[in-house]
Symmetry: C2
Subunit: 351 residues, 2 copies
DNA sequence: TTGAAAGCGATACCAG
DNA sequence: CTGGTATCGCTTTCAA
C-alpha cells in the first residue's frame, strides 16, 4: 500500500492540512515540525504529494500539450523546430510546467482521443496542417491553444508572405528570371517532382502556401509570371529531400539561374546538389533558403532569418498567461533577409 | 462555469455513471441513449471526461516521463537520440500514453521538484550522467524507471565496452599505433582540447567511460599502451565540436594515423576536419564513429551500429509492462561493427 | 440497463 | 500556527 498524505499525518500525529502545508506552504508551520514531517515521510517512503491529485485539486495540470504529427523524426531533426521547442521548454521550466508530447498518428480516432485525454493546461500546435480535427478537439477542450489558425486565437508567428516577398525581390533585383521553387507538402502524393501550382493561395500547407505566395507576388511585381516558375515538390523537409528535388530543377535545359526553397534544410540540399554537379552557388545558380538555421550561415547561404527561439518562448508565455488585450494575443515577429554568398547576379546571357 | 459529467447527466436526466459509461464503456448502455448523451454534451460544450480526474480515479497518469538535461538542443539534434525517442513514442502511442518531457536544468532544486511533480506512470532516463539526484527522485516516487544505473532496475542498452573493443581491434588489425580519441564529457571544464585520462574507468560520463574503456582494452591487447593514446575532449556532441576537437589531433606532429570518436556526430566532425586539411579518410587518417546514424553511411564511415529505434521501443515496453522475471528486465541489444571506407591500413612508414 | 454511494489523494478556507 | 470540512471530477462496484 503506497503511503499518502494521511499516512504521514497519522504517523506524526497531525492533520493532513499540516502535512500538505509542509510541502506547499512552508511559511505556514514551524521549521521543526516541518522537518519532523519530512523525516516521517522519508521513513514511510512517501515522496511528496501525488501530482495527479494535486492537479485535480488545484485545477492546473502543470503541463503544456505539444501537438505534432507522428513524423517525430522530421519534427526534431529540423534545427528550426528544435529551437522553437527549446524556447518553449525554457518558459515551461520557468513556470514549473512540463511539456507533454501528443503524437498525432494518421489514424484519426486515436489522435482525437489523445488530444481529449491529455492532462494539460493548453496546447501548442506544432504540426503540419491537415490536422484540423485534432485542432478542433484541442479547441473543444476549452483550453488556450497557440497557433491554431482560428481567428481570435493566441498566435505567434511571422509575416510569411512579406518575408518571402523580400527574398523574391532580392532575386528579381539580381536579374534572375528563370527560377525554380522547392517546397514540401505541395504535392497530393507527397512525392518528389515537378508539380503545377496554379495558385499558391490554394495550397493546404500553411507554410508552403504563404511562402510561395510571397515569392509569386515579388515575381509578379517584376513582370515574371508565375506560370513561368518551376515548382518542385520535396517529399519531406530534409537536406536529402531537398537535394533530390533540386535534381528536377538542375538537370533540365535551360537550367534555372536561381533555385529557392521554403526552408533552409531543403535549400542546403540544393547546395549539395550543386556541389555534386560542380555548379557554383551564387555564380552559376543562386540559392535562397528560409529560417537561418546555424548550418545556413556556415554554408554562406542567403536566407530569411526568423526568431525561432523567441517564437517558442512567446508561444509559452501566451499559453501560460494569455493577455487580456486581444491585440496582444496575436504577435507577429520581425524577419530579416540575410544576404550571403549563395546569391549573386544572374549569369549574363542567361535570359 | 465549465460543464462536468454532472452537468450533462442533469441535462439528459440520467445519473453520472451513465454518462461516464457513455464515454468509457459503450457496451453498458443503449446506442440511442449514448447518442442522446453526446448530443447534450456537444450542446453544453462538454468535451469529455476531465483527464486529470480520470487519472486520479483510475490510478494511471497516462504518460511516460522522459528525463533529459536542458541541453535540449543536443538531445534532439542527435539523430541517434531522435531515433530512440521515436521508438519510445511509437510504443507510447500504441498504449494511449503520452510522453512528458521533464527538463532538468542545472539548478538542482528545480529539477528535483519537476521530477516529483510529474504526473507519469514511470520514467525513462535519457540524459547525461551526473544527475543522480534526479534519478534518485524518480526512484523515490516508487515508479518504474528505465535505465537508471541502479541494479535490479529496468534496463535496455548495449555492451558498450565490447562494442568499442571490437572497433579498437579493427584498428589494431589495420596496424594503427598512433591513435587519438575524441569524446565528450571527459573534461572537468567541458571545454575542447587534449586531456589526460589516466583510467577511463573513472570517468563520470557513462557512455564515454565505457567506450573509452573498450578501446583501451583493445589497444592493450595489441600492445599499445593507453598512455600513448591522445584523448581529446569535445565541448559537446555535435559535428562542429567534433571538428574543433579533431584539430587538436590533426595539427600536431607526428599526426595520428587514426582518430576515433565516441559518437558518429563527433566522427563526422572529424571527417569535416580532414576535408578542410585535404587529408583522405581511410588513407591518410582512419576514422571510426559510434551509433551508425544515417549520415554515417552516407559519409562511408566505419562505425559501430546500435539499434536506436529498438532501444526506444524496448524502453517503452519495459516501462509500460515490466516483466516479472528479473532476467527479462535487463536487456542487452546486439551491436555490429560496420566497416566502410573511412578506415584502412595505417600508412606505411608511419610508425 | 441504470443509479446510488464510496472513494482516488490532495488543497483551501476558516475557525480556533 | 493548526485542524476540520468541503470539494476537485470522475470511475466503479453493487443493487435495483
Amino acid at each position: 500500500m503506497k503511503p499518502t498524505l494521511q499516512t504521514v499525518a497519522d504517523q506524526v500525529g497531525v492533520s493532513r492540512s499540516t502535512v500538505s502545508n509542509a510541502y506547499s506552504r512552508p511559511d505556514q508551520l514551524s521549521p521543526e515540525l516541518r522537518e519532523k514531517i519530512f523525516d516521517a515521510a522519508r521513513e514511510l517512503g512517501y515522496s511528496g504529494p501525488n501530482p495527479t491529485a494535486r492537479s485535480l485539486r488545484r485545477g492546473r495540470a502543470g503541463a503544456i500539450g505539444v501537438l505534432f504529427t507522428t513524423a517525430l523524426s522530421s519534427a526534431f531533426t529540423d534545427p528550426y523546430a528544435v529551437q522553437f521547442l527549446r524556447g518553449l521548454a525554457e518558459i515551461a521550466e520557468d513556470n514549473r510546467t512540463g511539456l507533454l508530447l501528443v503524437p498525432l498518428r494518421d489514424d484519426d480516432d486515436g489522435a482525437l482521443e489523445a488530444v481529449r485525454n491529455a492532462a494539460v493546461d493548453g496546447f501548442v500546435v506544432y504540426c503540419v496542417p491537415g490536422w484540423y480535427q485534432a485542432m478542433e478537439a484541442a479547441w473543444a477542450r476549452g483550453l488556450p491553444v497557440v497557433n491554431s489558425d482560428r481567428s481570435g486565437a493566441l498566435y505567434v508567428g511571422i509575416d510569411e508572405v512579406a518575408a518571402s516577398r523580400a527574398a523574391g525581390e532580392h532575386l528579381m533585383r539580381l536579374g534572375h528570371r528563370r527560377v525554380a521553387i522547392i517546397a514540401d507538402y505541395i504535392s497530393p502524393d507527397r512525392g518528389t517532382g515537378e508539380v503545377i501550382i496554379k495558385a499558391p493561395e490554394e495550397l493546404g500547407s500553411y507554410v508552403s502556401r504563404e511562402r510561395l505566395t510571397g515569392y509569386r507576388d515579388a515575381f509578379a511585381a517584376a513582370g515574371l509570371d508565375w506560370s513561368h516558375v518551376t515548382t518542385i515538390s520535396a517529399a519531406g523537409n530534409s537536406r536529402e529531400h531537398g537535394a533530390a528535388a533540386a535534381a528536377y530543377a538542375l538537370d533540365r535545359a535551360p537550367r534555372p539561374t536561381a533555385v529557392v526553397a521554403t526552408t533552409d534544410l531543403l535549400a542546403l540540399g540544393v547546395l549539395d546538389a550543386l556541389a555534386t554537379r560542380e555548379l557554383r552557388p551564387g555564380r552559376d545558380v543562386s540559392v535562397i533558403g528560409f529560417d537561418d538555421i546555424p548550418d545556413a550561415a556556415q554554408a554562406h547561404m542567403t536566407t530569411v532569418r526568423q526568431p525561432a527561439l523567441d517564437r517558442g518562448r512567446i508561444a509559452g508565455r501566451l499559453l501560460l498567461d494569455p493577455p487580456d488585450d486581444p491585440a496582444r494575443r496575436r504577435i507577429v515577429l520581425p524577419t530579416e533577409l540575410v544576404v550571403r554568398a549563395s546569391t549573386g547576379p544572374a549569369p549574363t546571357g542567361s535570359v
